[in-house]
């Protein structure tokens, strides 16, 4: 067991899981960092992305790679709707409001999915799953190998949007200094819509990809939401690059915990890590200013 | 023996030195003014003295005791009160409750007595409320006793701050720009009240102010800060004519040396 190949396999598995965390956390860190919203329903965007993929591929025969942008667009629309209907009315209130509201939204979305799709886990079937890659003693199915690649593409795209488009600059401005951003003419409503659209799309894309590897079922979003928050905290609130590093770190840490210690502790390790970070470096490993007591 | 003594006090925020090599003595019964251009370190010094910020180096002694390592709540209980440049109050409490609250730590039966409903605790609360009412009357706020503190005007809120400080019979009262944002009649009122605090109640005052009229009329002595260092410490009239002070405020056309990290 303690061979180099084993360790490498563990590492690769960790990077794949980590990629998923990166996607979910990137959007969440913007929503959390810019809009100050603690969004309990973020994992539901992930879940619904998975279901959109299932519907697209089983009902309409859409191939996986085409289903991805469709699914992401669909979930983005959902995110926009959520922003308008649920989060905008309570925007300037304190954080408990958004927690409760988003919790209500999560309950609605989970149970709507349960009604629409039933409780059985479902999988996106694709012919790609029969292809398997192997190198240096590491085995990986094609769509699992695709995950980090697609993630990297999305991260780069996201980075380009943030840095070089007007919308992206507005987002960064609001993240750095909301009041001055508003005084400079940034439309906070548009920023909010864009933030939710992008955040939801990324989470939905992650969910769709995972639905081809694991299964999707209505409750899958719960743990995803919680883990995404730990990644956001570790990477620094509002810090997209931090989210990338922290997401990969979490994936790898979980993989190694599960591989070398026990699978029981797999989920716990992330939460212990985040408590350590919160106690000793609350601004995150790479973060900015902090709410201090 | 000086009531307050700062010895070689230094405060650094990362690479920025906000206060350096500061020596200051305040004798009991004095009204000492603290002035200086914006950013000279006045509020920082007030925060160091009242324990809101920790010192980077040096020592502060109050009433013979080294208070350098102490947190603000402990320093407050030793007899130091303060007001804040940006007015602070407890929004969900009434005016009376705001003013009476500082007495809590000084009530013998403590929180336990209050929770258990001892008669002694209720009696202490009654006396505390009475004392607060006396002070509200002194500051002209008696009719507002049960109103939410938020409903008062700025001038009235500043009075409430002064009342809140006085209620504990402090030995030292640090006033951080008490006249800021006040119309001239209220400024006169503040001057009169501060003078009475010292004359009738023997409270030593450290007065941070920008409004020069207040400083000239009230202070026995004025300390001038510039770039975190003391550049003058003398009677108000002398300080007003000190060339270094004039240059600090208006500038002499030369590059000023700043305290370096």
């Amino acid at each position: 067991m303690y061979t180099f190949e084993f360790a490498l396999q563990i590492l690769v598995n960790g990077l794949i899981t980590g990629s998923i965390y990166v996607l979910v956390a990137m959007g969440l860190t913007l929503i959390f960092g810019i809009l100050g919203v603690i969004n309990f329903s973020h994992g539901e965007f992930y879940m619904l992305g998975g279901y959109l993929g299932v519907v697209a591929s089983s009902a309409y025969g859409v191939p996986l790679l085409a289903a991805l942008p469709l699914g992401m667009a669909g979930v983005a629309l959902l995110g926009i709707a959520a922003e308008r209907l649920v989060f905008r009315p309570i925007r300037d209130r304190d954080v408990t409001n958004s927690i409760i509201s988003s919790f209500g939204l999560a309950v609605v979305l989970q149970n709507a999915a349960l009604l629409a799709f039933g409780p059985q886990p479902q999988l996106i079937k694709t012919s790609l799953s029969s292809i398997s890659l192997s190198a240096f003693g590491v085995f990986v199915t094609f769509q699992r190998a695709a995950i980090p690649i697609i993630t990297a593409i999305l991260v780069i795209l996201f980075h380009v949007v943030l840095r070089y488009t007007w919308t992206g600059r507005c987002l960064r401005a609001v993240a750095q200094h909301p009041t001055i951003a508003q005084l400079s003419g940034v439309d906070v409503n548009r920023v909010a819509v864009a933030t939710f659209a992008m955040g939801a799309a990324l989470a939905g894309g992650a969910g769709l990809m995972m639905a081809s590897v694991f299964m999707v079922q209505p409750g899958v979003g719960n743990m995803i939401t919680l883990k995404a928050f730990t990644v956001v905290i570790m990477g620094g609130m509002g810090n997209v690059h931090g989210a990338v590093v922290a997401g990969l770190l979490l994936g790898v840490a979980e993989s190694f915990t599960s591989g070398y210690l026990t699978n029981d502790f797999r989920d716990i390790i992330g939460f212990m890590m985040v408590i350590m970070v919160l106690l000793f470096r609350p601004s995150g490993l790479f973060g900015r200013a902090v709410d201090r007591a | 023996m000086p009531l307050l003594e700062c010895a070689s006090v230094r405060k650094q925020f990362g690479g920025l030195v906000a206060i350096d090599k500061l020596d200051l003595k305040i004798e009991p019964g004095e009204i000492v003014g603290l002035i200086g251009p914006n950013g000279s370190g006045k509020s920082t010094l007030a925060n160091l003295i009242t324990g809101i910020l920790p010192l980077s180096a040096g020592r502060i002694t109050f009433d013979g005791q080294d208070i350098s390592p102490l947190e603000s709540w402990k320093i407050s209980r030793l007899g130091v009160a303060r007001t804040f440049q940006l007015l602070r109050m407890f929004k969900s409490l009434t005016v009376l409750e705001n003013v009476a609250l500082p007495l809590n730590p000084r009530l013998g039966s403590g929180q336990i007595g209050s929770i258990l409903g001892w008669r002694r605790a209720r009696e202490e609360d009654r006396q505390a409320a009475e004392r607060a009412e006396e002070l509200l009357a002194f500051f002209g706020l008696a009719e507002f006793r049960d109103r939410p503190a938020m409903e008062l005007s700025i001038g009235q809120q500043r009075m409430m701050e002064l009342a809140r400080g006085m209620i504990v019979d402090p030995k030292l009262f640090v006033l951080d720009e008490p006249a800021a944002g006040l119309a001239p009649p209220n400024v006169d009122k503040v001057i009169g009240l501060v003078r009475r605090m010292r004359d009738d109640h023997g409270i030593t005052i450290l007065l941070i102010e920008h409004v020069m009229r207040v400083v000239q009329e009230l202070c026995d002595r004025v300390v001038v800060l510039d770039c975190g260092m003391k550049i003058a410490d003398d009677k108000p009239a002398s300080v007003a004519e000190d060339p270094k002070v004039i240059e600090a405020y208006i500038g002499g056309g030369r590059i000023r040396t700043r305290a370096r990290a």
């Binding site: - | 969900s92 209050s114 605790a121």
Partner: protein, 313 residues
């Protein structure tokens, strides 16, 4: 007016088991009483002291599992496991208080969420101690014996109803005493402006710790009760969703009041039962109601009623 209303409510509650034929309602009331203990406790730390705590479900679970573990391993009776559950939950409350001393706002909220999740994960994964997903069984409340004489016997739904009611009454009384005391005033001050509270001489650190410990201890008591009521403990009853529900009870009911959390507990416990008729749509409507409640009642039900009264006069 308040006294009269309280008296009517107490008498009405005492009468319910005798007057109401449907034992279903009695059972719902028992659950309401337990959640009142949780929500009133949370209000102390969240509403009065202003510290975002999303871990009430964890303390609820710690109380329940302490009782279950002590019974299953040491055969201890309710009369020992109840104080033990309160104590152990309180101790964990002390643990959670520590990050609160340095964090506030979003960061404190996330820390408490992480704490809640760790506790939940330990309950599901530490199978040797907690029985994991399968939980642990409980037996009914044992009779209380002093010096060999049986003093108190709690058997059957009606007896449990009165036990739960008594526990709730004690919890509400404790919360009221705390909130109405100097400690309560200091909590409100810390909530409004902690820096100023310290500057006037208040020991904010100790006050915050007391708030966390008190709210956790109350939740622990509720947990012990639910364990005996249900006859078993399972991790799913003590999750982040439970915590979020209790927060909703406090916020939608009305923060920093005593009646607010009570109203909230009634609303959120009764709602799923009232919605039972809608079956599959039950939880969807529940979630929608939660969103609507928090959107249109920012000060909770109590605040809404106050505004109505003020608008009339």
């Amino acid at each position: 007016m308040g006294r009269l209303a309280t008296l009517v409510a107490v008498l009405g509650s005492v009468a319910i088991p005798f007057v109401v034929e449907n034992s279903y309602i009695v059972n719902v009331c028992i659950v309401i009483f337990i959640f009142v203990i949780l929500s009133v406790g949370l209000d102390l730390v969240l509403g009065y002291c202003g510290q975002y705590s999303f871990a009430q479900g964890a303390f609820y679970g710690i109380g329940a599992y302490t009782a279950a573990i002590l019974y299953n391993n040491f055969d201890l009776s309710f009369w020992v496991t109840m104080p033990a559950g309160i104590l152990s939950a309180g101790l964990f409350g002390l643990l959670l208080a520590i990050p609160s001393l340095r964090l506030a706002g979003h960061f404190l909220a996330i820390t408490t969420i992480a704490f809640q999740t760790i506790v939940y994960l330990l309950l599901t994964q530490w199978t040797e101690l907690t029985g994991g997903q399968y939980g642990l069984p409980m037996r009914p409340i044992e009779p209380l014996s002093l010096f060999g004489f049986e003093v108190l016997r709690v058997e059957g739904t009606t007896s449990f109803y009165f036990l739960a009611f008594a526990a709730m009454a004690v919890a509400v009384l404790i919360a009221q005493r705390l909130a109405g005391s100097r400690l309560g005033a200091e909590w409100k001050a810390i909530h409004d402006d902690e820096l100023l509270a310290r500057a006037i001489g208040l020991n904010a650190t100790r006050n915050k710790i007391v708030a966390f410990v008190a709210s956790a201890a109350l939740a622990g008591a509720g947990g012990v009760l639910i364990a005996y009521y249900l006859g078993s403990v399972y991790p799913t009853d003590f999750s982040i969703w439970t915590s979020a529900t209790v927060v909703a009870m406090v916020v939608v009911g009305g923060r920093a009041t005593i009646i607010g959390p009570i109203i909230g507990a009634v609303i959120f416990t009764a709602m799923p039962e009232v919605l039972r008729a809608t079956q599959d749509y039950k939880l969807i409507i529940y979630g929608l109601l939660m969103i609507l409640a928090i959107t249109f009642l920012p000060d909770g039900a109590v605040g809404g009623v106050r505004r109505l009264i003020r608008a009339r006069s």
